[in-house]
Symmetry: C2
């Protein structure tokens, strides 16, 4: 049984009356693992912090999927999608240390969420078979990888942001 967050809440936090993990409607497979210097419970707060710290990080793709890298190049930006299941998925309102009060999970990048999918944009620094070097990650060593996508400005940047910057 996964840990429940109902017994470890901060002021203002709200748990769902059910565990989203018990409502399985689709299944994921792990296509590889992120390798990083970070271990469980320790590591940078997010990918920006990780980039500032500098670190040796890579994706260890399951060799069965290596043909899927055809057309991916060093220097390219990708959307790295990974699975950050911390055991609790039911905390719908959270009070992070950095915020000035409780916030909905959809207004936060917290790893504790109904579907614990994490996402960051990183640069490919090397490709050696099924080993893909990346410029930074906030993921703990061994974090399962779900998907890799090319970053495309017209899909992945807000329209107003493109216009004004």
């Amino acid at each position: 049984m996964p840990a429940s967050s109902t017994d470890a809440k901060r002021p203002g936090e709200v748990a769902l009356p059910f565990d989203p993990a018990d409502r399985a409607e689709a299944s994921l497979t792990f296509i590889g693992r992120i390798r990083s210097p970070w271990s469980k419970g320790e590591g940078p707060k997010n990918v920006r912090t990780a980039r500032e710290m500098g670190c040796d990080a890579w994706i260890e793709l399951d060799p069965a999927y290596a043909a899927g890298l055809t057309g991916i190049n060093v220097g390219q930006a990708i959307q790295l999608i990974y699975w950050v299941d911390r055991g609790t998925r039911d905390l719908i309102v959270q009070t992070p240390g950095h915020a000035d009060g409780p916030r909905g999970v959809f207004a936060l990048r917290s790893p504790v969420r109904p579907n614990p999918i994490a996402l960051s944009t990183v640069l490919i620094t090397s490709i050696d078979g099924a080993r893909i070097g990346i410029d930074a990650t906030d993921a703990w060593d061994g974090t399962p990888v779900l998907d890799i996508k090319p970053w495309i400005e017209t899909i992945d940047a807000p329209p107003h942001w493109r216009e004004t910057s």
Copy 2:
């Protein structure tokens, strides 16, 4: 049994020797549905095309998750993550009509992939309870929603792109 892509391949396309759907390692729940004018097999090619066409689109969040919207505002950009299972997940090399030859799935935004997670950055145009208006979507009406995240430049834009634009 899901449809297999092994019997409908274009030149150069390669299928995995297994179906990723048979290797379930984690489960997803659907937190809502995308409502759009697009029906199965018909719709814009991507979110850029959808934005150019203009359309009335919204997220119908399961009311159980509505408290998770606290702190989300109209005008804000979000990462919308949705599930685009077309029945086949095994096509590791694909030959899209727009490409000049076969490409690995991780170099494409194709909905046919080992984990059929789709992702686009959209603007919130309205919030009315659990109904969230968005400025555009390429998703068919009824597409399951997996997650909503605030778009954050330092996590979601490539570093070099920020520097040069």
